[in-house]
Symmetry: C2
Amino acid sequence: MQIEILRLNHRIFRDKRISTHVALTGRAFHSTNLYYTGQKDSEMEESVNKITKKFGGNFKIMHIKDDVKLIEEKKKENFKILHLTMYGVSFKDKNFSKESKLLIIIGGEKVEPHIYRLSDHNISVTYQPISEVSALGIFLYSIVGIKDEFANSKVEVTPSERGKFLNQS
Amino acid sequence: MQIEILRLNHRIFRDKRISTHVALTGRAFHSTNLYYTGQKDSEMEESVNKITKKFGGNFKIMHIKDDVKLIEEKKKENFKILHLTMYGVSFKDKNFSKESKLLIIIGGEKVEPHIYRLSDHNISVTYQPISEVSALGIFLYSIVGIKDEFANSKVEVTPSERGKFLNQS
């Protein structure tokens, strides 16, 4: 499965760490691209790229200007467009694990109506206010599961009952 | 199951939104208390309390000064102490869904060695850098599942294929 993420309306001051956590969560579940609209944030990009360089994989983060254009391009490439929102249909009622291409849209503070309209599915993880970070994590976990191995990693964690073991590989 | 959360070393400037998202994620999975160390942040407490007032439940957020004292108290009250860390044992290798009382510890930027030592379990969701928010979300989802109903809620989402429906109840 090819998973890409679109994070809407990034604001450097307010969202830096939240968007970074969205990116890391996406990467940890083998998404390949994260696009974001809003303010371009080179510092955020750099901190995510540093992690990818160290822990491996092919995750790319890129700023885009036009969300509608991206969504339309992805539709032409046969991506299913899935918007995660508290207001959508429960993720338990649909099965996305057999889709071959998914673009997952993650809102910012306010999501414009066209996102609800252009998405193939508006999907809710819970009907409680939660966090775009944990909603994305739970959703990705539900369709991908845990796959801890990444190509080209320079370090690797050795699981431990007590303590921190990070090995150079 | 009674679930409480301890968030370590909150910094007002850097962690405000991350800690808020930790709290909302905890609340959405029916944790009752979130304790946090570091800087007291009345603004964060207020924004979490506003959500609880609106969406219901008994979630309490409170600043504490001494993490060791809290952990020792909770041990006396028969809580199992579980520290979520990338370096721990996989959450898939243990079953916590039958525990009656859990204190889940969520780190900040740097976690002191005594936390690894005092915890009954150091547990990892993935061996990739992810986010304390999504790690907590996935872990809670794995032991609690989705339970969307809360007592005393003033509003309720009506699931929808397209659009936003929030009802006063």
